[in-house]
Amino acid sequence: MPELDELESRLDALTEADFQQGLEVFRGKLKKAEASYLNSCVHCGLCASSCHYHRMDSTLENIPAHKLELISSVFKRNFTTMGRIAPGLVGAKPFDREMAKAWIDAVFGRCSLCGRCSINCTIGIALPKIFRAARAALGAMGLVPPDLQATVDNSLLHGNNMAVTKQDWVETVQWIEEELQLETGDPGAKLPLDKQGAKFLFTVNPREPKFFPLSLQASAKVFWAAKEDWTLASDGGWDLTNYGLFNCNDEQAGTITKHLVDAMARLGCKTLVIGECGHGYGAARWEGPEWLRKSYPFEVKSILELMDEYVRDGRIQLDPSKNTAPVTLHDPCNLVRHGGICEAQRRVLRKATTNFTEMTPNRVENFCCGGGGGQLAMARYKQRRIQSGGMKAEQIKASGAKVVVAPCHNCIDQLMELNKEYQLNVQIKTVAEMVAEALIPNP
């Protein structure tokens, strides 16, 4: 495969300066929390079962502590006294070609940064923080898998991660507006573009206009029913994704975040609303201000929170009998465990469906679908992605659900593949699609 060669040849071409550069970037990502984490692991191994990779393929390489050890062994060798004096005793190792290769395999190839191991760590190590530092170091050495980097480059070059042109985007929005008008029978149903001073700037995943616009139509229908004052940006600032969260290049991530910040300033909106997307929410809500090193002059909300408010305040009326098939809910890691949005989607679903069952485990203990952390973009790890997703497939089967609701487009794509691979025979939908289905038109 040509791509594999690209990474391999890059590995072969690494110079001493590259390793130094990687170490420097790695060191720069560590603050006292990370320094504490790197001093704490006792190799108890109890994290093994918390990882979906290890659950579905119980090799040593899939134990979170082993992935961590690869990184801390380099940390010890380069940044600690004991690692320099007695490397053999404390397991300190040099950062060389073999180690760089092992890092790539561990942090890109066997981790979706879902953080389930953090919650389950005996000590309390937030492992993904260290894995992110390692990804950043690899990035500085030119060792990000090319297809993941290509997705970031798309955003940097085209303002969205699928290189959708402005014309294509605008035409699609207009098309969906026509479809929405047909669906609601209301010629006043709109998908406003560039509405100055709108309360909400709504953002979407480029996958929606490109290939799956029904979820955009569903979101728009909810806004229509709630008589919301909202808008989309016609150019720059409509894409909520940020794969800088996954290549862990903070500078590139910050540049992509700036698309949203600039659109907010340009359109004078009060709140940035993130569509149903886990990593997009994490990137815009939590990491964006850190990348840009300043607080936003506006609020960030997930559309899930808005729908929750609409239901609570009676701004939309739902008829749950429109959704009677057994429904279960997937908890995207970046939205729930790392994002703190846990109950809004549940409250909404309970009002929009008659037969809602939780997966086990759920909420903070949820399993990653297997597609997170940029896995979906890295073709070389497809087998592992599908295999590790087996955990989610088992959960879905056990729930007996016929509809799996996932408030994340990335998860949805992975779930669609799991559906096929594991013959789950389920439908996969966004929360907005469920709500749109159950909407009782306003009088």
Partner: protein
């Protein structure tokens, strides 16, 4: 991923089941991919009009068309696209049309 054999020639597929070399595409290959990747025994006229449009767009523009263009040009309604290609326009239709895997959350 194991290669498909088409007219006695072995054609390499990526991990994701996309053609490693998109230029090797032909209609026989689409039929084989449909069976192997999408579990489709038969490609209907609707399938073909979608596949041929996507292929033509790719050859002219070197990217995948918007689903809007697919619907508008072929006249196949949106919901029907998802029925025709269970894996969706990207991992279903674009794959059968011999495109490389699109970037992004697909």
């Amino acid at each position: 991923m194991s290669p498909v054999v088409c007219n006695g020639q072995s054609v390499e597929l990526s991990e994701e089941g996309f053609l490693v070399d998109p230029s090797l595409w032909n209609e026989e290959l689409a039929v084989l991919l449909a069976k192997a990747e999408e579990g489709l025994d038969q490609l209907t006229d609707d399938h073909w009009s979608v596949i041929r449009f996507i292929r033509g767009h790719f050859v002219a523009n070197n990217n995948a068309p918007m689903v809007r263009s697919i619907c508008k040009t072929t006249g196949v309604p949106l919901k029907r696209i998802y029925e025709l290609f269970p894996s969706g326009p990207a991992k279903g239709a674009c794959k059968l049309a011999g495109l490389p895997k699109p970037d992004g959350c697909v």
